[in-house]
Structure formats: structure tokens, C-alpha cells
């Protein structure tokens, strides 16, 4: 209904008041299967990602799972590198990069992520495909759902849900396999030796997948997903959108293939509603840009197939921009895009530098608090420190401790320590200094740990040395 009709109606008739439900019952969407160019793109880009997701936890490196987020041990193994919780700023970097990449891509290409890569879309398509296999085409499904229960209906429905649950289980199992060694997980699960927590998580992710991709579908995009809502602030007139061309299509109407539409006073839209029937979010693309639209281009494929049949040029529904629809040309290089790209490049640069310059050892120092200092018979002043030396490298190293920044000071105690790969070693050590050489009662200095067999493995920590006034 256009705004004009609405206002007219109100002007002539007094408002009719009735009791309305403030909650909307979901209308089940029956999607028609369609093939075409953009569907193939989705298939070719989706498969490698899916295979990657399901295969990655099964790959090993140096006898250890290639990607394993070992939460109980607080160690995160990614492609031969081991990250500790101390490395979490890296994750923040990664998330910032992901966010800006999303902003940049959305500004230029619209909801490419939603339409092609988002797990919600990908798994929903898998589930729709299974639904099609079990229950048949759109029309068959609609007819059967309206009809009475029969043995066949039950069998087909059961088949659908079992296949959904199976895919959901494999998905959930694989997901937990990123956090629990997946080979052990498989054995433990099927020999009933799995602990309650991993089991509960497998059940949770299985059910979440089953409900999201089977039952919730577009409800997730429409009501739950924040990205679907805030993408509107990233859109401008030049953003790529899926749109119907009303100038070419209107007035819509059915006609025979042999008739010239111009004679009937019609546009190119044959009004067969194919674009509506294939839409996974249940909207009519001809109503213009809507927040429900995930940019999946199914309606483009559907409309193009009709245009081909009718012998009209393709692209009545197409990827375009608002500016292009108004007759202009899309500006690809615009300040907003360049700004996002610049920030993205800076963040990627910083992250790469941090990754390359990352030193896989960590040193912290805790001063003994019970005594400010110890005075020795020889007149020296000593402070006691407990050091935590973490070796995040994948091989063990021998570290030599030293100090800098304190004149004529020395370490008392064992200064050479072997720290195993992945070990966090506590070392207690004493620093001895000559009080007459200290300028202040509290002096800043550094404790340094240097691997004896690897010059690049060096960490230092700042601490304080206290002495009597």
C-alpha cells in the first residue's frame, strides 16, 4: 500500500478502532528453489568455507591439533603458534580489523556478508535444501502442510527433522572440537566417557543450529541480528543493493510472451511473483529497499530466468545503487570508502607488525611485601623479588637473568633457569645494591631475562628497588 492511498482513506473515513494483537505470529515462508548465476557464486564460495570449517579441527601440526582453543589450560594453539591469555590484545586487534573490514565491505558492496557468507544464511540454505529433498517443491510443501496428517506426511517430516538434526549435530560437534581435542571428543562421546560440560555444549550447539537454521531462519536476521539493523548507517546512495527497477518494470502485469508490452501499456514486470516466492526473508523486492533484505540475489536469479523466457533483457531486478537507479553513475571511490580502507590498512599493518615482533616470552616481577629491604652485614641493601617467567614458545629455553638501571648492583641466587615449552616458572631472586650509590630511596630498574640460545628471546620488566633513606 503506498502512502498516497493510505492518506486518502483516512481523509474520507473515520478511523476504525479494533483490538489488535501486539505480537505478530510468524508466517511460515515457503521458498521456491531457484538456480542461476548468483546461486552458483554462493555455492562456489560456500563450499571451501564449509569444508574448511569441518576439516580444520582434524588437521594436526607437530602432533598437536592445528587449531585448538584449550580453555582449561588457557592456551590457544593456532597454526603452530601458541597464544596465552596475556595475548588477548591481539584478539582485540583482530576484532577491530574484522569490524572495519565489515564496515568497508558493507559501504561498497552492501550486505554481501549476509547474503553469501553468514553462517545463518549458509546453514539455512543447507536446511532448505534438505527440506526440499524430504518434502518436495514449494507447492508440494504448501499443499501437504494444509492437508491432513498421513503416513507419508509423517515420514517425510520425520526424515526432514532427522536430517536437520544430523547436520546440526555434526556442526555442533565440530564446533566443540575446536575447544576439545576432536579425536578424543569423538571417541569419548561414542564410548560414553565424555564429561558433562563438553556433552552439554555439543547438545547446546546442536539444538541452536537446529532451531536457528530450521525454525527461526529469517527471524534471526530480522529481529536478533544487530548487524542487520546498524548496516543502515553504513549505506549511502552508492552502496550496492539488490533492487527492482520500477522505471523499467512498471506498470506490472501479466501478458502473453508473444505480445509487445508497449501495446498493452505495461512495463517489463510480468508480475508472476517469482521473486517473492524465492525470497528467504519473505519480502517483495519490488517494494524497494527493506531492512529484511539480506542481499542474497535469489530474486535476481529468479527474475533473470523469467526475463530469459520472455525474451526481455536481464536485470529488471539487479545489483545496483540508488544513484544508478536515479540515472546517475555509482561512485566507487568516495571519502567514506577511502576512510574505512585507510583505517583497515593501518589496523592490518599494526596487527602484522605485532605478530611478527611478538616475543613468545613474558616476564613479571613481584616484590616481597613483608620486608621493604634487607640490610646485610657487609652494608649492602637487598630486595627480594618473585619472578614469573613464561615460555610461550614451542621449545624449551635456558634463560639468563640480569638487571639494568641500578649502579653496581648484582643478583643473588640462581640466575640461569631452564624453562620448558609452555611452562610458567616462578623464580625467587634477590637484588643486592650499595646504598651509597643509590640516589633515591626508591629506584626504578629493570630485570631482564635473555634466552642463552636465542638472542631474539629477551624480555624485561620494570620494578622498584627500595632502600633506607
Amino acid at each position: 500500500m503506498s502512502d498516497k492511498e493510505f492518506i486518502d482513506l483516512k481523509a474520507v473515513a473515520p478511523a476504525e478502532v479494533a483490538e489488535v494483537d501486539l505480537y505478530q505470529h510468524r508466517e511460515k515462508i515457503y521458498t521456491r528453489r531457484i538456480e542461476g548465476f548468483f546461486q552458483r557464486i554462493r555455492l562456489y564460495t560456500g563450499w571451501p568455507l564449509l569444508v574448511g570449517y569441518f576439516l580444520l579441527p582434524w588437521l594436526s601440526w607437530d602432533g598437536r591439533q592445528l587449531v585448538l582453543f584449550d580453555l582449561p589450560a588457557r592456551k590457544f594453539h593456532i597454526l603452530g603458534l601458541t597464544f596465552w591469555p596475556q595475548d588477548f590484545p591481539m584478539l582485540a586487534f583482530l576484532l577491530i580489523i574484522a569490524a572495519f573490514a565489515l564496515f568497508a565491505v558493507t559501504t561498497v558492496l552492501g550486505r554481501i556478508w549476509c547474503g553469501y557468507t553468514c553462517p545463518q544464511t549458509v546453514w539455512t540454505s543447507i536446511f532448505m535444501w534438505l527440506e526440499q529433498k524430504a518434502e518436495g517443491s514449494r507447492n508440494q510443501r504448501m499443499r501437504r502442510d494444509k492437508g491432513p496428517w498421513s503416513r507419508e506426511k509423517f515420514t517425510r517430516k520425520a526424515l526432514k527433522h532427522v536430517s536437520w538434526l544430523f547436520v546440526a549435530y555434526v556442526t555442533g560437534f565440530t564446533f566443540v572440537g575446536y575447544f576439545y581435542p576432536i579425536r578424543e571428543l569423538l571417541v569419548d562421546l561414542w564410548t560414553f566417557n565424555l564429561g558433562l560440560m563438553p556433552l552439554a555444549w555439543i547438545v547446546f550447539f546442536t539444538l541452536a543450529t537446529y532451531i536457528n537454521a530450521g525454525w527461526m531462519r529469517e527471524q534471526v536476521c530480522t529481529y536478533m541480528c544487530p548487524y542487520a539493523r546498524f548496516q543502515s548507517v553504513m549505506f549511502d546512495k552508492d552502496t550496492l543493493i539488490v533492487s527492482y527497477d520500477p522505471n523499467r518494470g512498471e506498470p506490472r502485469g501479466s501478458r502473453k510472451r508473444t505480445v509487445d508490452p508497449a501495446q498493452l501499456g505495461l512495463g517489463d514486470c510480468v508480475d508472476d511473483e517469482l521473486c517473492v516466492q524465492v525470497c528467504p526473508t519473505g519480502i517483495d523486492i519490488r517494494d524497494g529497499l527493506q531492512y529484511e533484505c539480506i542481499g542474497c540475489a535469489l530474486c535476481i536469479d529468479a527474475c533473470n530466468s523469467v526475463m530469459d523466457k520472455m525474451g526481455y533483457p536481464r536485470g529488471l531486478v539487479r545489483y545496483t545503487s540508488e544513484r544508478e537507479l536515479e540515472g546517475g553513475n555509482t561512485h566507487w571511490l568516495r571519502p567514506r570508502v577511502l576512510g574505512y580502507a585507510l583505517v583497515l590498512a593501518v589496523m592490518v599493518g599494526l596487527f602484522s607488525y605485532n605478530m611478527v615482533a611478538r616475543i613468545p616470552i613474558e616476564l613479571t616481577a613481584i616484590r616481597d611485601r613483608s620486608q621493604l629491604y634487607v640490610a646485610t652485614d657487609a652494608g649492602a641493601i637487598e630486595n627480594i623479588y618473585t619472578l614469573q617467567l613464561a615460555n610461550k614458545d614451542n621449545s624449551s629455553h635456558e634463560f639468563e637473568l640480569s638487571i639494568s638501571g641500578l649502579q653496581n648492583a648484582s643478583l643473588v641466587g640462581e640466575t640461569v633457569h631452564e624453562v620448558q615449552a609452555g611452562e610458567l616458572r616462578s623464580i625467587s631472586i634477590r637484588v643486592r645494591a650499595q646504598p651509597d650509590l643509590l640516589e633515591q630511596p626508591s629506584s626504578k630498574f629493570w630485570i631482564v631475562a635473555q634466552a642463552t640460545n636465542a638472542p631474539e628471546l629477551r624480555a624485561s620488566v620494570e620494578s622498584r628497588f627500595l632502600a633506607p633513606r
Binding site: F6, L9, A15, E16, V17, A18, E19, V20, D21, L22, Y23, Q24, H25, R26, Q219, T222, Y223, D368, S370, Q371, V374, A375, D377, E382, I384, Y385, T386, V412, G413, S426, S428, I429, R430
Partner: protein, 293 residues
């Protein structure tokens, strides 16, 4: 919580629940113009749609309320009502302690069965011992066990109460009390000066020979009961060896004189009521390992 406040909390909680349920269900439907699509809010020509919420949203509210009621029945929350599951934080804490005890207790018991000399070098014992030492001993002896003024260094070869594992274990479990009486009034200030000179001479340090000789006589008549005729000390009493130039309360002439004049009291508190036998065993092994590497 007194009965009044308990009742107060229960009544408030129940009223809140009832209000929430009423609020939810009374707003299920509304009298409204048919075909009214916007809220009437207009900003810069942009109108706000008045779209309904999805129905499953309503059911989520219902589930939340049911969950909340179930929670209050099962867990403590309604005033003093402990909940049907009788769950308490204390119980959970004790459970966790028991779990840890089960896990690590066995390891500790296994070491308790072995002699201290044998396990002192074990990496696991050293790590466990270091942790326990840090928690229980480092306050006085320092994190590196090298001690400080008044608290002995545990990494050297000098021992006040004996260097055997057994003696160390007794020191930790039973504690020690050492008393050096004040001799200032007994031997006079001249006596103190002379004995100090004698001790300095014994340790090969600079001392006036005449004073030292006089001091030896005073020492022989006053100090030998505890420190022995050769000043070698007596580990049964915790009387230190005075010839090794290792001074618990400082080795300067002034500090030595002060110890003689005013006396000293050393106290090592007993730990048998604080730590289990196995833990004391492991700490002993750690300390033994520090001085017998």
C-alpha cells in the same frame, strides 16, 4: 535475616512477579486504529513504524517468568527459604576443596611415604614446596629463603637447630623458641665490650688483644653453658655457633654488643596445626634441597 525481613523480601518478590505477569498479559493486545502503521513520531521527515514484536518474543517472556519461579523454588532467594535443592555457597566451596584434596592429596601422600633426602631433588616436589613456602614461610624468610635480620637464611650451611631433615621437620612442625638472656647487668658494660672483642677475635676480625683476653674469661664463666667452651654453639638449645661469622642479628661490633647486653628472643611458630603432615614433609624437602643442592 530476621523473620520480618525474610517476609518482607518474600512479599516484595511475589508482588514483583505478579506485577510482571500482569504487565505482560495486559499488554498482549491493544485497542487501536486499524491500518495505523506508524507511531506518529516524525523526525526530519522520517516516520517511525509501529511494527509488532514477533510472537516468540512473548513466549520468551513467559519462559523467563516460569524459569524465575522455578529458580526461586529450587534455589535460595525467597527470604530465608533455602530452596528445595538446599544449595549453599559454603557447600560448594567445601566440595571444591574436597575435589582439590582428592586430586592433589594423593600426590602429597605419595611423597610423604618417601624419605626427605630422596625427594628433595624432584622437580615436582620443588615446585610444590616453593608454592607452599611462598604462602607460609616467605613472609619472614623471604621468597628466596635467604632470610633477613632476625630470620635465618635457609639456603646456607649454618643451622641453629640441626641440619638433618628430621630436625628441620621438627622446626617447622613444632616451632622453636630460642632465648638469649640479657647479660648487660650480669657482666657490666665493660664485660660486654670485652666479650665483643673476644668474639671478633674468634672470627678473625680486628680486636684489641687485651680486651679479647679479658673477654675470654668472662665468656668462659658466663656463656659456655649454652654456646660451649669452644663457642661452637649447641643445636639442642638453638645456641648459635659464634665462630662462623654468620650473625642472625647483625655482625657489626655494635650489634654484637647489643645482643650480649640486651639479649635476643627468636621464635619460629609451630605449623602442625596449620599444615598437614604431608605438606610439612614437602616444605621440609624443599628447604632441605635449598641448602643441600
Amino acid at each position: 535475616m530476621s523473620n520480618f525481613w525474610s517476609l518482607w523480601v518474600i512479599v516484595l518478590t511475589v508482588i514483583t512477579f505478579a506485577l510482571m505477569i500482569w504487565l505482560l498479559f495486559s499488554n498482549r493486545t491493544r485497542e487501536q486504529e486499524i491500518d495505523k502503521q506508524t507511531t506518529g513520531h516524525v523526525y526530519d521527515g522520517i516516520e517511525e513504524y509501529d511494527n509488532p514484536l514477533p510472537a516468540w518474543w512473548f513466549y520468551l517472556f513467559v519462559i523467563t517468568i516460569v524459569w524465575g519461579i522455578g529458580y526461586l523454588i529450587a534455589y535460595p532467594g525467597l527470604g530465608n527459604f533455602p530452596g528445595l535443592l538446599k544449595w549453599t555457597q559454603l557447600e560448594q566451596y567445601e566440595q571444591r576443596v574436597a575435589e582439590a584434596e582428592e586430586k592433589y592429596g594423593a600426590i602429597r601422600e605419595q611423597y610423604l611415604a618417601q624419605p626427605i633426602e630422596d625427594i628433595a631433588g624432584e622437580p615436582q616436589v620443588r615446585k610444590m614446596g616453593m608454592r607452599m613456602f611462598g604462602n607460609n614461610c616467605a613472609q619472614c624468610h623471604g621468597a628466596d629463603a635467604r632470610g633477613s635480620y632476625g630470620f635465618p637464611n635457609l639456603t646456607d650451611e649454618h643451622w641453629l637447630w640441626g641440619s638433618t631433615p628430621e630436625a628441620m621437620k621438627i622446626s617447622i612442625a613444632e616451632g622453636r623458641q630460642a632465648a638469649m638472656p640479657a647479660f648487660g647487668d650480669v657482666i657490666g658494660s665493660g664485660g660486654v665490650t670485652n666479650v665483643t672483642a673476644y668474639l671478633l677475635k674468634l672470627n678473625g676480625r680486628d680486636a684489641e688483644p687485651a680486651l679479647a683476653d679479658a673477654g675470654e674469661k668472662v665468656f668462659q664463666s658466663n656463656c659456655v653453658a649454652c654456646h660451649g667452651a669452644d663457642a661452637g654453639g649447641n643445636q639442642a638449645l638453638g645456641a648459635p655457633d659464634l665462630k662462623n661469622d654468620n650473625w642472625l642479628y647483625g655482625g657489626s661490633p655494635e650489634q654484637i654488643s647489643h645482643s650480649i647486653r640486651a639479649g635476643r628472643n627468636g621464635v619460629m611458630p609451630p605449623h602442625k596445626d596449620l599444615l598437614s603432615d604431608a605438606k610439612i614433609h614437602i616444605i621440609t624437602a624443599y628447604v632441605y634441597g635449598l641448602s643441600n643442592q
